[in-house]
Symmetry: C2
Subunit: 369 residues, 2 copies
């Protein structure tokens, strides 16, 4: 596990870097975006279409897979890769964020997070050890420690106590590790307080994690705090480890975070927006249901080479959406994910060529200046 | 338009034949199955995946496309092929069947079918001339005449009058034709009465249609009547024209109809069943939601080479279905359509090799004895 990550090139003007992350199921060129495959599927997209668009790694949700179909079922079926028909790298979260955002009647204690399933109301206890056990059963390439995702407006005292507990949970996760073929990332919490973020990072950095994530952002704190806290926290993390900004976000947030030194990203925005008919283009977002597109023969984005843009008009995509056709979700999700991957590929190209990583959605000189 | 259809080979024991149907968008080897693309999409399946599974021709629904997005819109966007990203042959129905099955408050007169849209209650008049105009705007390769689909239990007097009107409408459709690049098929009605079917076929056969369809079957009359009336009617139709059994049906019905001399088929069963979790396999249908599949590592059908069967287990497909994932509809529809196409390919192989066309869902010697 010693040379699983290398920084190949750095931007001279900021902290952006081109990296190479080696996992049991293949190599990831960073910066990279991870589509979210919550219930063992990236919604409405076939694995082969993910591969075709240049997707390198998926994210799976421990909370959902633990509740349904159950991690033992997935283990018995050969692990999550085999189960979902994706032979590339997979990162699993720890379930902590979903306990925070989805479960009913959760209660956090030193032992772990007790919660009721959003599916059937059954009661479960997610401890750090359990989070590791589940992720080892799933067989992901990168596991995350159990943390508590703190509301952005939590009182400082609560943030401090919770962050301290997250540190203890991180140690327990380390001790619980059994698989040699799985990387594990620690998660830096600390709310909106720079001193608590610094303290958490300083305590976590010496632990033998193969990477570090920044959590608790993109939860309603606003763009300014998101950018300042994420950049500040990234600057505290070791250069020789991959950095992952969890659950963020919009393309412009990701670009900003790449410049701050982050390597990995995930977000449901491209797929969720796709299903809702909000589409990313090089000239901004558009809502495909608008009447102005009813007769529009142009592709969604003339600078895009995805399957959707190469085959279909805005008028057709609007028709599918208005008619409630499943194909709308398929084509829209394909396009939005392609858009995200194109941005990341542009960042990597710019870094490789020694150009600045800039927001350039035209794609003609993707991500470069 | 003279040599658009040729019979290449005939079964010596029954009326089954191997044929070749030439259209403006390509050649169709018959017998062939047409997936139904009601609203300008085969539900949940990308055009490129249809192509890959060996799909040769799609069916589009005039009624739906006329109401939304409108045939003028589709014409302005370059026609239905361009609109839906399918460059192979398309057959459009006339809208008659949907007026019968979907529209509210329909009223049939000599002039045409007056009906209210199931979408917004607006009133429309579908005449034979209008049905031709719409299909010419859509630009399908094969258009169908407007007919009235009669309830299977209609009184004989009504059937006779309606069939007579269908004949007059067929003449009006012929007179209304403008496109040289579009074939047109007549439709034989006559309900469950052999003498009326014979009369309709004898009146229709001399008209200059490029093919003939048998309509008004598969509407609740039962398997025995379906088979006897369809086989009887097929026997009355000219050998040198393609024969199309509309809206039928189950794989075993199609096989039986191939032996009766039919060349073309369409049905929503494979896609609708797929979305509902009912899947065709070489050992029979199965309902993927059943608990017995929760841990089942086997593919749906071990004899199937479709994408779904090559990549995913029954346990995974059950999980997707139970979790309400869109991917369930995608993978199930892919498999069921592949199953139908494999049966048709098996029929063609058997005919080419001079073997009998038999029901052989094992696929090891697909369609052959």
């Amino acid at each position: 596990m010693s040379d699983y990550f290398s920084v190949l090139k750095k931007d001279s003007n900021n902290r952006a870097r081109l990296g190479r992350l080696v996992t049991s199921h293949g190599v990831i060129e960073t910066p990279a975006f991870m589509p979210v495959g919550t219930q063992g599927t990236v919604k409405a997209v076939l694995p082969r279409d993910l591969r075709e668009m240049g997707c390198q790694i998926l994210l799976g949700n421990t909370y959902h897979l633990y509740l349904r179909p159950g991690h033992e079922t997935i283990r018995n079926l050969g692990g999550l890769h085999s189960f979902m028909g994706w032979d590339g790298p997979i990162l699993t979260d720890s379930g902590g964020y979903q306990v925070f955002s989805l479960a009913a009647r959760r209660k956090i204690s030193e032992q772990g997070a007790c919660f009721q399933s959003h599916l059937d109301g059954s009661t479960h206890l997610l401890t750090p050890e359990k989070a590791v056990e589940i992720q080892e059963a799933l067989g992901s390439d990168i596991a995350m420690v159990l943390d508590e995702c703190i509301p952005h407006d939590a009182a400082r005292r609560y943030v401090r106590d919770s962050t301290e507990r997250t540190l203890r949970w991180a140690e327990r996760c380390q001790r619980a590790r059994g698989r040699k073929d799985q990387l594990m990332f620690g998660i830096i919490q600390g709310g909106m307080h720079e001193d608590l973020r610094r303290w958490c990072a300083e305590e976590m950095a010496p632990m033998p994690f193969e990477g570090f994530a920044v959590g608790g952002l993109g939860v309603g704190e606003g763009e300014e705090l998101l950018r300042s806290i994420s950049a500040f926290t990234a600057s505290l993390l070791p250069d020789e480890r991959p950095r992952y900004l969890m659950g963020v976000g919009r393309p412009e947030d990701i670009l900003s975070a790449v410049r701050a030194g982050f390597d990995l990203f995930d977000c449901v925005i491209p797929t969720r927006n796709g299903r809702n008919g909000t589409l990313f283009t090089s000239s901004g977002k558009l809502s495909i249901k608008r009447a102005e597109f009813a007769q529009d023969p142009r592709p969604l984005d003339e600078n895009c080479r995805c399957y959707t843009c190469s085959q279909f008009s805005r008028a057709y995509l609007r028709h599918l959406f208005m008619a409630g056709e499943i194909l709308a979700s398929q084509l829209n999700s394909l396009h939005n994910l392609y858009f995200y991957h194109r941005i990341m590929a542009g960042c990597r190209e710019a870094l490789r060529a020694g150009r600045a990583v800039l927001w350039d959605p035209q794609g003609t000189s993707a991500g470069s200046s």
